[in-house]
Structures are given as C-alpha cells and as structure tokens.
Amino acid sequence: MAFTDDELVAKSVGGDAESFNQLILRWERPIYALAYRVIGREEDARDVCQETFLRAFRALPGFKGQAKFSSWLYRIALNLCRDWIRRQRRAPVMQIPEGVDPGELAAERGPVESIEELVSRRELSAVVEEAMALLPEEQRTAIILKEYHGMTFQEIADMQGCPLSTVKTRLYQGLTVLRRHLEKNGQMTPQLVKRK
C-alpha cells in the first residue's frame, strides 16, 4: 500500500525512519534534477540533494504541513542551491559539456534510437544546458520549476518570494533568451525563426 506524503511525514515525525526513507526514494530524483539544473554540476547536485534531505529530516518536527511536503523540500533545495551559487559566484555556473562518444551513447541507450539521433539529442541537450547557463538565476529557476517540475505560477511565486506578474516576466524573458540562443545554434526551424 502506497502512503501519501503527508502520511509518511506523520510516521516519520513519530520516529519511523523507514517512512522517511520512502519519502527520500520518492523525491530524491526530482530534487537531484532540480539541483543539477540550477547549479549544473553533478557532484555538487548530489551533495545538495543529500543535504536537502538531511535538513528536512532534522527540521521535520517543525514541519506543520502549511505547504506540501514536496514544496517544502523544493524550497530547502533551492535555498541550498542559492547558497552554492553565492559561494561559486566567481566560477562559471555551467561546465563545458564533454565530447560526445557515440559508442558510449549506444551502449547506455540501447539499439532503439540510431547513433545519429542519439548524438543529435545529446548535442541538443548540451545546447539547452549552455543556453540555460546564460540566464540570470531567477529566470533560470523559474523556467526550471515551470518546465521540469510542472509548478504553477503561484507556486513559483511562493517559492521565489515574488509577485505572480514577476514570475511571468521572468518566464517570458528567459524563454526569449533561450529561443535566441537556440536559433543561433541552428536548433530552431527556419519558419519559426522568421518573426516580424
């Protein structure tokens, strides 16, 4: 039987560590993905992910359920990402993507896709990652929360502590920068590039 987050939280507060482990299992991938997309470094994203759950576990008795458990986790993770970015302010946020190894790609993806498609997708992923690195932190975070975590404008506004209209502006400006970068790198089709 699958428990809801709230049930697992309640059991965890009661001292059941295994329930918290189920919460970790449920949320570690999204939290890791969020951390990786915000800070762009695999190892550091893992550290942020681990620290997020550690802090959540310690702060669990104080969690009163005003927000969803996932939103609470996201908030902790984003705060940790922000701290990390502050510490790394002088260093580039994103690493340069490494060269594409078709053999490795084929081995890890299986024979369903052709090598060309795999390489193309990996290249596209690298271009998107590169484009995201160009965005200011607030725009990047807003787009990540919207595009990859399906949050509503209101949830993002709560998470970022800003008005709803600011979230929309950040999304629009961020998407515009991304579009420009993708056009420049030949990832957008010509008919879509042509605008007034």
Partner: protein, 247 residues
C-alpha cells in the same frame, strides 16, 4: 480577467502559452492570435523553444540516500583522534631531525659493510663479471677450448698436491680471456669491413645502373627532339617552296 488582448501583453501571452489562464482570457487571446500574425508566430516560436527544453536531462546519478535510525559506531561523528590531528611545528621539526639522523647512520653503516664485503669476497668474482660482456661474441668452440684448458690446469694443480699461487693462475686465465676477446674483436672487425665493402659495392652498382638509365632516357629525348626539329625544318622548307611558286 480581460475580455480583450493587445499585442505586447507578455504576461497574458505566457499564461496562454502555459495554459494557465481563465477561459475568457484564453478565448480573447485565441481570437487575437487568429488575426495577428506577429503574436501567432511569437507563441509558436516560444512553444517550439519549450519543446526543445525537454531535451535537457540531468545525468544519471547514484543516489539511494537513506536515514539510519540506529547508526553503527563507524557512522557516528566524534572528535578526531590525537594521531589524526595536525602536529605542532616543534614536533614536526623533531621528527624530521630524528629521520635525518637515522638515515645518515644507516647510510654510514651500509657503506662500511659494503667495503668489508668487497674486501672479503673472492677477487675471481670480479674477473668473471668482466668476462660476462664479450662472451656473446665468443664462439662455442672457444668456450669449450677454454673449459678444457681450465680443467687441465685444475688437474695439474691437484697433481702437484698443493694449491698453486692464486695470483699466477688468475693472471693466466685473464691472459687467455684477453686473447679470446682480441680474436673475437678482430673477427668482428673483419666481418664489419666485409659487410661495409659489400654495401659500398652494391651502392656503386645501383648508382651505375641509375646513371645508365638516365643517360639512355636523355639520349632518347635528344633523339626525339632532333627528329621533331628535322620534321619542322622540312615543313618550313616545303611551305617556303609552295609560297615561292605561288608568286
């Protein structure tokens, strides 16, 4: 929400793009987009950008974090041991001095032992080592001859019932080894000279052959050119004759 939409309302455009607006606002934007090509293209290109964003996936990572309610002693944080803590400067200096003194003492001891060993060892050993290098050039016949000589000397020594002076025997062996080495070197030099002469001869032969071929080719070219010149002369003479007849 507003019933109309005007170009440049990016907030409303984003709401429409993410399908997060009221139904009447959505209807208003849809109606506008149907007639405004600029806004339609803007929405289409932003939608295409969103589609491309889906290609970005984080790398797989080994996660699997767990909270352990009863951690084993190895997982519990505790003050570090004294031997894991950094040593003070005076202790580091003292340790360095002790290590240096030990090294010097060991080095001195080893040097003394090495000298004593060398003095105590059989001097014949050095001779054997010296002969190890050139043996590669000595033929099996030489070695068997040397063996026979050595056996004969040893049997002579046994027959005399007393050890022969070591230095005299060593000198003889050394002398014979030197002779063998000299013979071997002379053979090698002769062979090298022979090989060098063969190479020079082959090179000369090749050079002569190449020169002959080049001369032949040049002669053919000369001949061809001469024939062509003669033909041209004949042609010119013919033309001259024909033109004079015409006049």
């Amino acid at each position: 929400m507003s019933q109309t939409f005007t170009c440049g309302d990016y907030g409303a455009l984003v709401s429409y793009l993410y399908d997060e607006c009221e139904p009447n606002e959505r209807r208003a934007i849809s109606a506008h987009v149907a007639v405004c090509r600029g806004c339609a293209e803007e929405i289409a290109s932003l939608g295409a950008t969103r589609e491309l964003l889906g290609a970005w996936s984080p790398p797989d990572a080994q996660l699997g974090f767990r909270v352990v309610s009863d951690p084993s002693p190895s997982n519990v944080l505790r003050p570090s041991r004294w031997w894991l803590q950094p040593m003070p400067a005076w202790a580091q200096a003292a340790a360095a001095a002790v290590i240096f003194a030990t090294g010097v003492t060991l080095g001195a001891l080893r040097a003394t032992t090495g000298t004593t060993d060398a003095q105590a060892s059989n001097p014949q050993a050095s001779n054997v080592t010296l002969t190890a290098g050139p043996t590669a050039a000595v033929t099996p016949g030489d070695l068997s001859a040397l063996e026979q000589r050595l056996r004969a000397e040893m049997s002579q020594m046994r027959n005399t019932n007393g050890p022969a002076p070591v230095s005299a025997g060593d000198a003889q062996v050394l002398e014979r080894v030197r002779v063998l080495i000299q013979d071997s070197e002379q053979r090698q030099q002769r062979e090298l000279a022979l090989r060098t002469a063969e190479i020079v001869r082959d090179f000369d032969a090749q050079r002569q052959g190449d020169l002959t071929r080049i001369e032949r080719a040049m002669g053919q070219m000369d001949g061809t050119t001469g024939v062509e010149v003669a033909q041209q002369r004949q042609m010119l003479n013919y033309l001259m004759r024909v033109s004079q007849r015409g006049q």
